[in-house]
Point group: none
Chain length 190, copies 4
């Protein structure tokens, strides 16, 4: 089963760096050191392989987000946790993280394809998390009275912009992390 893992690893890497359409099954088989038909033994096809990868990536991601504590001392701690979570996944699995932040390949965009579904769901989850959090913080007087949905959009944009910035891998990721948290604190906490 090591070979199946090789296929998945190679596919993650290639899909993240070349896109779904830009990656051929031959490239995957080469990078995975297997022959092409083996891909079809383990998966129904290229699309299925992609779907499996994304599904797994989303499940892992959602379980992390779901695991974030909701009973923190301050509301800002929840923001902090969210930022830290994303910096952690960028550091540990940059390719998967990049994939779940990408737009779904046009071909797979059937209204309820797993890919489109999950991207939508991810957005909703993050949005819910942030809106709740902001509303609570503003209510308690911890946060300045910022417009809630718009600010959620901004924070999500910053997160996705950071995930997509591939050079983050090579930059001093921890100082950016600290700067991000301070940046948000100054803006939100009054």
């Amino acid at each position: 089963m090591r070979k199946k893992q090789n296929i998945i690893r190679a596919a993650i890497h290639l899909f993240a760096s070349q896109g779904f359409d830009g990656t051929t099954t031959l490239q995957i088989s080469h990078e995975a050191q297997v022959t092409e038909p083996l891909i079809y033994y383990h998966f129904k096809g290229k699309e299925d392989l992609f779907t499996c990868i994304l599904e797994k990536a989303f499940v892992d991601y959602f379980s992390l987000v779901d695991g974030l504590p909701s009973d923190t001392a301050t509301q800002f701690e929840r923001i902090e946790n969210l930022i830290n979570l994303h910096f952690d996944v960028i550091a540990e699995r940059p390719d998967e993280t990049f994939l779940i932040t990408s737009t779904c390949p046009a071909k797979l965009n059937d209204l309820d394809h797993i890919c489109a579904n999950n991207i939508e769901r991810q957005r909703n989850v993050l949005n819910g998390y942030l809106c709740d959090n902001l509303t609570a913080g503003i209510g308690s007087g911890e946060f300045a009275p910022v417009p809630v949905p718009e600010t959620a959009v901004l924070i999500m944009a910053m997160i996705s912009g950071l995930v997509r910035r591939r050079s983050l891998k090579y930059e001093d990721i921890d100082s950016v992390r600290r700067a991000a948290i301070d940046f948000l604190r100054r803006s939100l906490v009054q």
Copy 2:
């Protein structure tokens, strides 16, 4: 001549929504209401068409950024101008703007392909603008003493995250714009 413009328009739209590899020359010709070979009369090939589009988009973009005034009353005005500029281009030309914020198709990633070059250059221009601006603002006491390069990365991430958020078109873009400016002001100005 009108037909050449049709081709370009169709290609911008399709490349932005499906990616370079996900778009076929046949699709482009259909959407442009021309025959396929006409694409090859006006451009050397699919890649050349893509390159021409990107080059133009970058030139337009850079000339806007270069046109931003540097002698504003406050340093924050410069930040404000930069944000406004990006919200304007998102509103006016969402597809081109999306394209110049995307990663270059792997195949074109020869170290000095126009595409890779310009993406690099864009990053440097924005980075230079922000670093200068932040340093000056901190020096004059207008801005809080934030870490300069890291904060520049954060602001760029937010901008690119916003550009890539296609639904912005349908959201109340002006309230997001105002929220963004206020958000940054609170974080930076002391």
Copy 3:
């Protein structure tokens, strides 16, 4: 009318160096410094252009061969004249000469296309000339009793081999010419 000549010149050059199928009408128009449609103003098409060139080349060639004197003092003089004629045309018009020695493009090989016809006719003319000549020379005792049709084939092979040897242009063509005549004399005259 100068432009028509340019087209013909360019076509001769390109057909001779790249073959009929290997030459595009665009290449011809470039080398002739005209636009493509002009080729179609002067000729019915690429094939017609090729045909015209070949027809002219064959007419010129045949008129030279027909002009060779038949009432020479010796039979070997006739051989000598034939060889000299070919060395002259190689020197003066290497490309046309190459073309009339080439095989007809497969596509034009309708049984009685001018091209196929003329190639056949050329062979017959040369063959007739040589067979007559050899028969007469052997009959008069001037030539050794060689087998007539086979020897005609050999001499024709040598001539066509020389015409096709493009580097002849750069070699000392006159010493090869003399060597050829001496070579044939030693072999034939007894």
Copy 4:
């Protein structure tokens, strides 16, 4: 594996009768009774197929020429062997032999493409063989004092003229062979 051979056989036949540019991959696949993409499974492309064929043909040809004995009783025997070798290959593999005597397709004429290289090499090998042979024969008094390089050119021209004369297949090839040897003997041996 049988199918790969079919492709090669069909390609040899078609390239020899229609030229490289005049032959389409579809024609090859039809004649080989395979589908077109199979050509691309076994070869990198049309050009690669052509190159492989020529390479093999040249290797076979060179090994035959290299195998000719150099220690014959007379120098003329060496000439005789060379002529016989060429009549043998014409009889056995007329298409390959025609191909290696043809000019290289213009497109492949990169200064050191295998095709151009081998054509050059072939010329040098034959030329070396004949010059050595003629010089030795003249030195020993076996041959008349003919000009060496020019006579080599003439003999090579005759050989290539014969190889290219496709109708040789149908003519009485053995009588032409004998005539050629006698022809050369009379001209050279004194």
